[in-house]
Every structure is written in structure tokens, then in C-alpha cells.
Assembly symmetry: C2
DNA sequence: TGTGAAACTAACTGGGG
DNA sequence: CCCCAGTTAGTTTCACA
């Protein structure tokens, strides 16, 4: 992992379908070494896959909500069970077990506020063991989630 | 956007470098219609780009921290300024303006807890206008961030 | 809208600096 | 390590059902 590898990753973050020639051009190398560097990073686990960026809005998912969840109990069993239930809920696209004031942070996508009300009623409030939850609607997103490669 | 389009998107979310033949196989179509459906979704804005999934750990970014930030003032100007400063901090990989108890939720990646202490001292606490911040370390991530296509 | 073949472009392999 | 040239595989276009 040198400076050139990081620049290649930055190019792939911008557009993973760019040709090896385009990437090579951007980092000042021919296609062949770019290809072998990328392969090495795939093998070493730096690159874990290739994905597509989708517009939630265009898919009819206009609202993102961040939910802080506090559980009744912090036993291994309760945490495990809660995680398993979350895995089955499509609206929950992220779930993090965290330290601090609450236990879980969820990221949920829904059509609109009406749909969110349905989500709470049908999905979240039917889960046993939730002591407390607190919702925050995302009003604006200022930064997306690419990893920093300059540090 | 029909059922087949969604299945194509699901395949691309799993692996955006799969060949059109592989995608076609998965959705029961030949390569050509897959290609034209993908092109249409690119043009209509459903697909906004192609990216690479990287391992934060493999890049030496072992800790993720979620920070709730409350600002002193909620004037347009303050919010704007704060957003501009955040944009320049590489450790901040996500920033959401939210409704509710606090104003911003940040997602920050750092090497370790020592590095987080540095981040707080050098980056976050030097920003004017922060009334209060509350950090939660991510202990475990149970679900990643692909959009649901089954709903 | 779909299929299948033809033309084109990019990914991959190996030889040489 | 890198470049270049040749081979293989994938993408894009087109004629037709």
C-alpha cells in the first residue's frame, strides 16, 4: 500500500467502472501495473467488493431516519436476538451496536413520514425488549460515506 | 422500474463488476436487455454511480465513532458554516443535518482511540459554535448500507 | 421487449527493459 | 516494478422475431 495504491482506490471510489487505461492515466501508469495492484488489493482484503450507488429518492425512499435504541437488558442473549430480528427488516439498512447513552443506532429508509409511522407500528414496536427509542429525521446529508485515503 | 429491474439492481449491489451475461443469467435474460435496462436506470438517475467497497480495518482505520453535535445557534449562516468546515475534515465520512434532540450526526473513522483523542483535540474542538457533542463508538456493525429492493 | 451474431473495446497474459 | 504487444473476454450495436 503506497501512495499510488491509494490514488487508484480514490479513482475506484469515484467510478469503479472506469477502464484500467483511464485509471492508469489518472495515476500516471499504464494499465498493466494498475491491474496487478488492484488484484493485490483484492487479495489482501483492502478491496472487499464492487457496488452500485443508488438514489433512494428515485427508488421512492424519500426519508431517512436515524433511530437510537435502548434495550431492556444487555445480556449477550438479548443483544444477539435483537440483531437477528433487525436482519430481517428491509427498512433497516444499517444497524450498529454502540457504546454510550444508547445501545443501537439504526438507519432506516422509508417512503415518507406516513410510511415511517407504519414502520414504527408494524416493525419496530413489535420487537420485544426495547426500553426506549428516539428518532431523528435526516433533513440534509452534507457528506457521503467514502473512506478517506489522504490521511 | 419493474421486478426485473430491481433484481438487476440487487445483482449490481452484490457485485457491480459482474458481466452482463452473469447478470442476465441471474435474472433470466440475455445480456442485451440487461444492458439497455441498466443504461435506462443510469439515465433516469436510479443508478448514480459505481463504487468500490473498502475495508476500513485493512486501511488502518479500526474505529468508527458516531458523534451527535449540538450547535450554539440554528441560524442558516451557522449551519452553513459548520457544514463547510466539516467538508474539509477527512476523518468525517458522513454528516447529516437532523431533526430532534441534536443538530448533526457525524460518522468519523480513526485508527484507534488514541487517534480519536487527537481528532477531538485538533479537529472537532477547534470548530467554533459547537455547544455540545456526544460520542458513541461503534462496537459491532450488524448490517451494512444497501438499499432494500424487495419493498 | 426480447434474442443472437458481429464489431468493437477492455481485461488479462507473457516477454523484455 | 514498469511498458508494450498479443490473446481472451466483455460490451455495445444492429437486424430480426
Amino acid at each position: 500500500m503506497d501512495r499510488v495504491d491509494k490514488r487508484i482506490l480514490a479513482e475506484l471510489q469515484k467510478n469503479s467502472r472506469a477502464s484500467l487505461q483511464e485509471i492508469g492515466q489518472a495515476v500516471g501508469l499504464s494499465a498493466t501495473p494498475c491491474w496487478s495492484r488492484i488484484r493485490k488489493m483484492e487479495e489482501s482484503g483492502v478491496i472487499t467488493g464492487y457496488s452500485v450507488r443508488l438514489s433512494p429518492q428515485a427508488l421512492g425512499l424519500g426519508d431517512t431516519v436515524l433511530i437510537q435504541v435502548t434495550l431492556d437488558s444487555h445480556s449477550d442473549n438479548t443483544l444477539e436476538k435483537f440483531g437477528e430480528v433487525l436482519a430481517t427488516i428491509p427498512e433497516v439498512i444499517e444497524a450498529h451496536l454502540v457504546s454510550g447513552d444508547y445501545d443501537y443506532l439504526l438507519r432506516v429508509v422509508v417512503k415518507d413520514t406516513r410510511d415511517y409511522e407504519r414502520f414504527l407500528r408494524e416493525r419496530l414496536y413489535t420487537i420485544k425488549g426495547i426500553r426506549h427509542s428516539r428518532s431523528s429525521f435526516v433533513l440534509r446529508t452534507l457528506k457521503a460515506a467514502d473512506l478517506p485515503l489522504s490521511m
